[in-house]
């Protein structure tokens, strides 16, 4: 295993380097298959690691070399491979591979083909490094790498101003998170003198339980997690990130990036168990974000934005789970979510291509005849994310709601909120489905829509299979060496809660069906009746406007002030003043430079006599005294 783990990193690194350096000179199919193949190779290697773990191999914490050392500050390059990171790399490389294959078809006409695959490989590489790193420094390097590659990919079409702005926004938001992470690492090193996970987990209990230090560390880590995972209040970059190509959205939402925050909390679960207040904060952030994003999702009209808000909402579920200590449930939902969200995005990409880059769901409809594969797979994804029985999303979401409802104290209300959110999820997903994909009410269809080629549909079909059967994978048992054995759930409790969440989902489905498939005029009537709320939700609670007013505009004003006043009147004035002063004075002083050797000699002689007199004076050889 100690040789397999670095190879998992080296495969996408090789793909990235080849495509970045030679990509422009290679034929397109070669570029695409190098990009996808390197991730596929990583998946095979990850499978080998999984087999070794299942065969009973011990988790790996292998130091390959010491990166740097100064006093008692040591940064090794070590990889930490246990059941948790193995699950992560399997999903990252597995779903990532399918997305890469899909991109071969989706991006086939893009002029930046090789650049795209180089960035995608870099993205996967950063995420794998983030997951496999065995110490905080390499974690942060991977963390920042993910931020960088997401910036590059969101701004991939750099001739579109909106894409450039969205990339910048994502980068700035992520940097706020990076700062939180870095300060957390500082605090950990200051208090425990370690950078590696093993030492951190060993020495953790030297800190007082629930004390200020451990709580501060966990909250700073949470800042990083919130920024990366687009949770409140650092969520605004995620919907804007839809400016990137659709496979990028799929990669960000399913395999890499936004799940990093969930992974971070799960990886640091010993810290959060030791800081209950911070863990409760995680749960509240998650629960509130899940509800908040779901409400926004109900009113959007851009197919990718709806999916983006649904991701925020689902990641909120995962945060809720890891916040209340149901780590395995959170990771379970991460896995099933990766299946159905990648599927939904890629299916949406097919639709967007069929409609020539139009993303407005009101222009779509009745896609069953034109895009049959996309239609049926999208339906599977919608059912799965809505939590319909026996599909993957049903099991993982129920697990979270059950854990939240069973938790003592305030988490119970988060469980209720999660239940409501489940209904909202079903509503907005089916609203999207009914409006964009349509049912049977269009009688004639003169559009000539074309289904995507197999290279784009086969990955979706594979993911649809995962979205159906993924719920039967015993993740909790697999992760039990990391998080402890899963609690036994009585069959009655399971059934009761399942019935509740299914009822919520069915209610959402029925409302969506009624409003958007059967009686669209009712939707219009309700929209006018709830006009103020609708406006609030449609404008995403005016948070972008608020941030613009509070942070962006004052920042711009400050910059304008610094540029207009400080720069010209203070800094330039000082520099120019010094130069002018020197010039004026030099005009006078240059007169002593006569060019006559004899006048120089006279000055030298005078100086020498002066020095002799002063020295003699200090030594007391003169009749009068100098300098006391």
């Amino acid at each position: 295993m100690d040789t397999l783990a670095p190879l998992v990193l080296l495969a996408p690194l090789a793909g990235f380097l080849v495509n970045a350096v030679f990509g422009r000179r290679l034929p397109r199919p070669v570029v695409g298959w190098i990009g996808a193949g390197s991730i596929g190779l990583g998946f095979i290697l990850s499978l080998a690691i999984l087999i070794q773990l299942l065969a009973g191999a011990r988790p790996l914490d292998q130091t390959y070399f010491t990166w740097w050392q100064s006093g008692d500050f040591t940064v090794p390059f070590n990889l930490y491979v246990d059941q948790l990171s193995t699950l992560m790399i399997l999903v990252i490389t597995g779903v990532g591979f399918l997305i890469h294959v899909y991109s071969i078809g989706y991006m086939r006409e893009d002029p930046g083909y090789s650049r795209f695959f180089a960035y995608m490989n870099l993205f996967v590489l950063s995420m794998l490094l983030l997951v496999l790193a065995g110490n905080l420094v390499w974690l942060i390097i991977g963390w920042a790498g993910v931020g960088l590659s997401s910036y590059l990919l969101i701004s991939f079409w750099f001739d579109r101003p909106a894409a450039v702005l969205a990339g910048r926004k994502a980068f700035v938001m992520n940097t706020i998170g990076d700062i939180g992470m870095i300060f957390a690492a500082f605090l950990i090193f200051l208090n425990l003198r370690v950078t590696d996970y093993r030492g951190l987990f060993d020495r953790l209990h030297q800190l007082p339980r629930g004390g200020a230090v451990i709580t501060a560390i966990c909250l700073l880590l949470l800042v990083g997690a919130v920024a990366k995972s687009a949770q409140l209040p650092l969520h605004t970059w995620l919907p804007d990130a839809m400016e990137g190509p659709t496979p990028v959205s799929a990669l960000i939402h399913a395999a890499t990036m936004v799940t990093a925050g969930v992974y971070l909390v799960a990886r640091m679960h010993m810290l959060y168990d030791w800081a209950p207040a911070a863990a409760a904060t995680v749960a509240i952030v998650g629960g509130v974000t899940a509800f908040f994003a779901a409400t926004i999702g109900t009113s959007q009209i851009d197919i990718k934005r709806i999916l983006a808000y649904s991701t925020m909402s689902q990641i909120g579920y995962m945060f809720l789970a890891v916040g209340i200590g149901a780590y395995a449930a959170g990771m379970f939902h991460f896995m099933t979510h990766a299946f159905f969200k990648a599927l939904l995005f890629m299916a949406a990409g097919n639709v967007i291509h069929a409609f020539h880059d139009d993303q407005d769901i009101r222009h779509m409809g009745n896609l069953r005849a034109g895009l049959p594969i996309t239609f049926w797979t999208f339906l599977v994804g919608t059912l799965s994310i809505s939590g319909f029985p026996l599909l993957a999303g049903f099991f993982s979401k129920d697990e979270i709601i059950r854990s939240a409802l069973a938790a003592p104290g305030g988490e119970f209300w988060l469980g209720v909120l999660a239940l409501v959110t489940a209904g909202l999820t079903a509503y907005y997903m089916f609203r999207l489905f009914f409006i964009a994909f349509g049912w049977e009410w269009l009688t004639h269809d003169d559009r000539h829509l074309h289904e995507a080629p197999p290279v784009q549909t086969v990955p979706i079909i594979i993911l649809a299979t995962g979205a159906v059967v993924g719920g039967y994978i015993p993740i909790a048992t697999f992760l039990s060496p990391v998080f402890g054995a899963p609690g036994e759930v009585g069959f009655g409790t399971f059934l009761g809660l399942a019935a509740l969440s299914v009822l919520a989902a069915l209610a959402g489905l029925l409302i969506a069906y009624l409003l958007h498939a059967r009686r669209p005029e009712l939707a219009v009537a309700w929209r006018t009746r709830l006009a103020p709320i609708h406006a609030l939700v449609e404008h995403k609670y005016y948070i972008d406007e608020l941030y613009d007013r509070v942070f962006v505009q004052p920042g711009l004003a400050l910059a304008r002030f610094l540029n207009g006043v400080i720069e010209t009147r203070v800094i330039d004035a000082a520099v120019n003043g010094l130069a002018d002063f020197t010039l004026v004075e030099a005009r006078e002083f240059r007169l002593i430079q006569t060019g006559r050797v004899r006048s120089y000699a006279l000055w030298t002689l005078g100086g020498a006599i002066g020095v002799v007199l002063i020295v003699a004076g200090f030594l007391g050889y003169l009749p009068w005294r100098l300098g006391g």
Binding site: R596, R598, L602
Partner: protein
């Protein structure tokens, strides 16, 4: 008056002659000789005081000065010869190329 004072007086007189000569003469060769005169005046003072104070320090300094003076003569004479060959007037006041 002790003998040491006589040597110092002689040294001072030679140095003053050199300094004045340096300041008033125009011929670079003569100016150069005046520099040598000043250096040797100092050497004389060093050597004499070394003898009277029973210390070798002064003599060591004198040797140092002689070595420096020798090196300086090489450079200085070379410059003067070059100036002479260039057909320029042999007047230190005219040698002001470095002014600009």
């Amino acid at each position: 008056m002790p003998a040491a004072y006589l040597f110092l007086l002689l040294s001072g007189a030679l140095f003053t002659m050199g300094a004045v000569g340096f300041l008033v003469r125009h011929n670079p060769l003569v100016v150069f000789m005046c520099i040598e005169l000043m250096l040797n005046a100092v050497n004389l003072a060093f050597a004499a005081e070394s003898r009277f104070l029973n210390s070798l320090d002064g003599v060591v300094f004198a040797f140092l000065v002689i070595a420096v003076a020798a090196a300086e003569v090489v450079v200085g004479i070379a410059i003067i010869v070059q100036v002479y060959r260039g057909g320029r007037q042999m007047d230190v006041d005219q040698l002001d190329l470095m002014k600009e």
